[in-house]
Symmetry: C2
Subunit: 415 residues, 2 copies
């Protein structure tokens, strides 16, 4: 059951000028479900992306990287759920390329102007007949649908789901160069999906104008503050992708520097949106009953803050203690202790659970009472704050707990 997350309403989602979305039922793995989504981008759109660091990058990820590197302006995305096209070798690459070719032909584009994305079971060949057979319906949907509401965004959020229990989508409005702008994003991913493999996908579009050469950096900066700071079970999928689209339809002079006032304004507007989508993935994490913020402060650099935060976030003992609402200080401290910060003086460590100061200078706080710890562990949202006491750097990671349901979901036979 997702943690304080509900399905987005169409009224809350803003269409983005320059983006048309079509969704179809191609029957890729199951009948009667939206499983094929296309994004059509008007000319002049700029696109950037970040992808999984898993060496087992899926075929569509490899093709995305090639097509983005080609420098052809991206004009279309095609996303299927039901099959990840991962671990499929040369024939998988050929399938991803053929998908792009087919869509490019229909739209009069070069194949490198199309980016492919897949999520679902791995090590099974993409059912190309059904995928290609579904493309005309997806295109018809994109071209005929009204794009004056967020309906197509919501349909796309549904069309990329796997074991997600809810679609994930959100919008923001902001101002840049005196104009009213907007951005809308969707995401999917619930840890690792049954029956096989995780995938975290995120697509975010804005009508802002951004110089194309900035887009990968923009995607990286946004991901580093959001999708790269969440973890459900520490397993990194073969297909993780996050795409940022700037259609430029707002008509202002393009942002050419992310450190300029307009660049910073853009980051300030889009970062909370990316975070909201990334948090939605954790809130809907497999078996999650708690949404946990782990903030590490007082590090020498952000790298060691992250090392400590992930060590806590990935500890099965910490995660089961959160599931039990058990303020188990020892497990958290031990996870900090084995995070690999070799010269860490544990005598400088502080720990807060919510507003309760539970550990000071590496030992139990003299005023800490177990019942205070239990009180702050009860709610569905918990903040853990760790002070390393050796510098001024800080960083934050978001995660969920580890429940019986996680084991049930992932130990079920594939069927």
């Amino acid at each position: 059951m997702p943690v304080q997350l509900s399905s987005p309403a169409v009224a809350d989602l803003l269409p983005i000028a320059g983006v048309r979305i079509g969704v179809a039922e191609a029957g890729i793995r199951k009948a009667n479900r939206k499983d094929l989504t296309v994004f059509l981008l008007d000319e002049g759109s700029a696109v950037g992306a970040v992808f999984t660091r898993n060496r087992y990058a899926a075929a569509p990820v490899q093709v995305c990287r090639e097509h983005l590197a080609s420098g052809q302006g991206v004009r279309a995305l095609v996303i299927n759920t039901g099959n990840a096209n991962a671990g499929t070798g040369e024939s998988g690459l050929a399938d991803a390329r053929q998908t792009c070719n087919a869509l490019a032909r229909s739209l009069g584009l070069h194949h490198e102007q199309v980016l492919p994305f897949s999520t679902g079971v791995i090590m099974e060949p993409l059912p190309m007949d059904r995928l290609l057979g579904g493309l005309p319906a997806a295109l018809t949907s994109a071209c005929s649908a009204q794009h004056d509401s967020g309906a197509q965004w919501l349909a796309a959020a549904q069309g990329i789901m796997t074991t997600d229990t809810l679609p994930k989508a959100a919008s923001v409005s902001f101002e840049l160069e005196g104009r009213a702008l907007r951005a809308t994003g969707i995401a999917k991913g619930a840890g690792m999906i049954r029956p096989n493999m995780a995938t975290m996908l995120g697509f975010l579009a804005t009508d802002a104008a951004v110089a194309p050469e900035l887009m990968n950096e923009l995607a990286r900066r946004l991901a580093d503050a959001s999708f790269n700071r969440v973890t459900v079970d520490g397993d990194t999928s073969t297909n993780d992708s996050f795409v940022v689209i700037a259609t430029g339809q707002a008509g202002h002079p393009p942002v050419t520097d992310l450190s300029s006032p307009s660049g910073r304004a853009l980051l300030d507007a889009l970062t909370p949106l990316a975070q909201r989508l990334a948090h939605a993935i954790v809130r809907d994490g497999e078996g999650a009953t708690k949404f946990i913020t782990i903030r590490v402060e007082g590090g020498r650099d952000t790298a060691e803050c992250l090392r400590a935060a992930y060590s806590v976030a990935h500890s099965p003992l910490v995660k089961t203690a959160f599931f039990a609402s058990d303020p188990n200080l020892g497990r958290i401290l031990a996870a900090v202790g084995y995070a690999g910060i070799d010269d860490l003086d544990v005598g400088g460590i502080d720990l807060w659970l919510g507003d309760v100061h539970v550990v000071t200078r590496g030992g139990r706080h003299p005023k800490y009472r177990e019942e205070d710890g239990q009180r702050v562990m009860k709610p569905a949202e918990i903040e853990v704050r760790i002070g390393l006491g050796r510098g001024t750097a800080s960083d934050t990671v978001w995660t969920c707990d580890f429940s019986h349901e996680y084991v049930t979901i992932n130990a079920d036979y594939r069927s």
Copy 2:
């Protein structure tokens, strides 16, 4: 329920000349259970040890390190269960020292000749009155018991248990310099213990004669082949300790070089014993239903083999798949892919489950049939063999699966 592990029989355990063991019921945490163990070592014994790398090393670990560094010959060990004396700051250090002082006084030793060990709940003060009150009974037990059988070793294996479901002990006989030698060891640890914190403790004694300056290296070499190659949940305890004792009572010329023929013979004899004890910890891992050997071959060095092996061994998705006896190739390959071997060419990877070749050159083996994978995943013992295809190094890690029972054990409220 432990995986193919049964309680050792007294008849299988060999007493070691020069080692006297006493066990008492001190009531440290619970009444009517063996919880205080002393080892008395005859003069001339050589002792080496390795300890947790967790920065939150417990007080007894810190005191052990000091006492071993002092160069005073170790003549006694004192081990309590029920309380880990970890996260207890200065007063915990004082308690560990006081324990050594008390035992040293009774035995006419210098306090640095005593090593203390604790396991159990953390962040609670060691109940010194009960611990010190129990010492005379433990000493009486050591001095009055018959040491012509393995009975005291079995009692000690019981006396150091926490959530272990079975005591863990084993012996070997071997030959060195034409003499008949023996070694006996005990261990405890079942992942992380309820209600709080893991601890892996191992004590191994032989009547071999070894130069004292070799002992830490001997302990490290043995641990690297055994205790440092097992993982239940990836959490490293604050108290992990492994001690090797060579009493020298066999009377042969001491081993002065581990690379010499006698040094190698000693390693060859003790390594399987250390492995058997370490494997017993995994077999009795919290909630374990499978014992899994993960062997990685074809690496450039052992470091990258280990990185891949631990990545697979720690993946919650892989571990839940083992629980389900599901030959989920994708999860294993993905874990290899994110192990952090940056220039890994996944096109060179091979994977075997038992005797079934399931992946070749990074893709599903053409002859692999799912039913063969299911067949080899069914037994309680499974070997996973991964070929990285880029070198000649190899290494092995042992682990267990991840079951509902693990969550139940660790999500239970402390009580």
